[in-house]
Amino acid sequence: GAGVSQSPSNKVTEKGKDVELRCDPISGHTALYWYRQRLGQGLEFLIYFQGNSAPDKSGLPSDRFSAERTGESVSTLTIQRTQQEDSAVYLCASSPEWASQSYEQYFGPGTRLTVT
């Protein structure tokens, strides 16, 4: 079946502009995660959505970052007034309900954001 998809695959923006990144999780997956990966680094947790529960926003680095999810489907990550330090690959992952046997998270290909 279809995996996690993200769009756009690449985004170049000028410093100070807002950007919106999109994630389509695997159908039926109730959990959705956003991560940031800087060049040569590991994954930095940003935000988590689980069903209709309040999202865990503990990883968002500043109030310029926000995310929304409609039910158990598409999510958008918005970065306002982008800074050069925001340049990174933004990865989205989804997983089945926590009570299932596996906690495996399925990742999309990422959006490479470059702020000039």
């Binding site: 060049l39 680094q41 865990d56 926590w98 906690y103 399925y106 990742f107 999309g108 290909p109």
Partner: protein, 114 residues
Amino acid sequence: GESVGLHLPTLSVQEGDNSIINCAYSNSASDYFIWYKQESGKGPQFIIDIRSNMDKRQGQRVTVLLNKTVKHLSLQIAATQPGDSAVYFCAEDESNSGYSTLTFGKGTMLLVSP
């Protein structure tokens, strides 16, 4: 300025060799661990997982070893192939908040020469 994170630990092996990638995790309360493989330009891909009540788990050509005493995790790849070249991340999950919360290591780059 400081060059941060541009020099991943790298393991270079010959095709056919066995590879061992190591990872130290931080939280003794973590009860689930995953190894991910990330090829250039792609998202991480699940390889193998292990729960804290186990010390070894085998998959196809891969074995994960867990040493809770020293908080150490390793990934062994048998008969390494050029297609195994990628960055490998370990991730730990505390799972004490009712949902999966993976904390990722910085990664090790595996380079396999034909």
